[in-house]
Symmetry: C2
Subunit: 233 residues, 2 copies
DNA sequence: GCCCTTATGTCAACACCATTGACGCAATGT
DNA sequence: ACATTGCGTCAATGGTGTTGACATAAGGGC
């Protein structure tokens, strides 16, 4: 009935045919579990309905459409990642810890992350995380505009790497293997006549198959430290 | 017939019902055009077949499956991006120019980029680009392992931002608007009691809606310059 | 110039998918 | 006890990728 998500307090709770009582929370739980166990392709309205023991169309009483559901799941992941986070040490340590938490959180749910990492959830857990992150930038001594700009660059870098690595993890095993092996196979085979630099570093190419998140994070934060010193001094 | 992509030189060329003669190249062209004109959701085997004037299943004679086709399209984008690229200035200028080219290339095809930016195409244009990029790192004075590691971090950062921004551009207009407005609406409305840092920088929040690519790129390259000086000295 | 082989375009079918409108049960407030 | 209505269910629509069997025409050998 295209009514979409019911905003106000829900009153009538009728158990489904299978006996469970649906909740926005329960649905998000189930979606997360389902996507984790069997691929992201298992995350369809139909399978979700089957797993919950209800008719697929029942979900439309709780979420406007699948995108809406996806955002709810993404916000849950942000919440999990940042739960109990209290920055320790200086602002750089705080940012580093936050980056690792967010990255790890999305890595724990690669199938979802690949779809949702780049979205703005506009939901409570995200609000809290952005508040925390911008707070750390302000601690670093940046003015308000730079704090926001730097936070945007920071979180986009983290999310970009998270999405990249998650997408790789989320590939079907056969495909993931092919992508990883590419660096040891296809790239090894290129002749030095046409690809001299590749041939030169041939022995190191398997490094391309590993995550570059920590390298990129280290570089980013080092640059931020320099810039903060400049802003203060 | 599940034969998949025909590897060797194709001999018999039979025109389709509509008279066109299919080619791997022609199909990639058409896919790129189709995804550009009407959303990425328009990029389906059936629509592609319709646009080419052939039966949808004919495409399976040229590509093993849609993922295979996607990689071919992605490689074409890389080729377009790097076409005629000759690094000018020092290695940092070269990396900056390369980053901007790749970012722009994917931005020109956001619907594809959102799907393909994180894949390894294992195809000629990608080989060439990686060879070029690692060459620039070697010019910077890094040893072979660091050159590969830094190139991985570099290209992943660029691709991550490209995918992030592309995914945003690729959203349905109504959804994109909602995501962008979030920073000016939902985030503005949060009370300073619960979200003090957000309230403090309230005026600057719309900056979050803009791309952070240039900021992140600047920071990344600045850090790389410092590290290169350390490696040399 | 014919025939044989085979590459490749076409057809039909399968098993999925998201979404919607009508329907009706049952839980709730009176 | 009743009326209201939230919400779970059903059925249907129009999309998707992929496959196997089939038919046809192109090209090579003679």
């Amino acid at each position: 009935m295209t009514a979409g998500r019911v905003p106000v307090e829900r009153r009538r709770r009728r158990p489904t045919k299978a006996g469970t009582v649906l909740t926005e929370e329960l649905i998000v739980d189930c979606a997360l579990r389902l996507a984790g166990e069997h691929g992201a392709e298992a995350l369809s309205v139909r399978r979700l309905g089957a797993a919950l023991g209800c008719d697929p169309s029942a979900l439309y009483r709780y979420f406007h459409d699948t995108d809406d559901l996806l955002l709810a799941v993404a916000d849950r992941i942000i919440g999990e990642s940042m739960e109990g986070f209290v920055p320790e040490g200086d602002w750089l340590d705080g940012l580093r810890a936050m980056a690792r938490r967010v990255y790890a959180g999305y890595s724990r749910h690669p199938r979802i992350a690949a779809l949702a990492a780049y979205r703005v959830t506009r939901r409570p857990h995200e609000f809290r995380a952005v508040d925390t992150g911008i707070g750390l930038m302000l601690e670093g001594g940046f003015d308000e505009a730079d704090a926001v700009r730097n936070y945007a660059a920071f979180i986009d870098t983290v999310l970009g790497h998270a999405a990249l690595d998650a997408a790789h993890l989320a590939l079907a095993p056969e495909r993931r293997g092919a992508d990883t092996r590419a660096w040891a196979d296809a790239y090894q085979a290129l002749p030095s006549a046409t690809h001299p630099r590749l041939a030169q570093v041939r022995g190191q190419l398997p490094l391309m198959g590993e995550s570059s998140f920590e390298t990129a994070l280290g570089l980013f934060l080092a640059a931020l430290e320099v810039r903060a010193a400049g802003a203060a001094g």
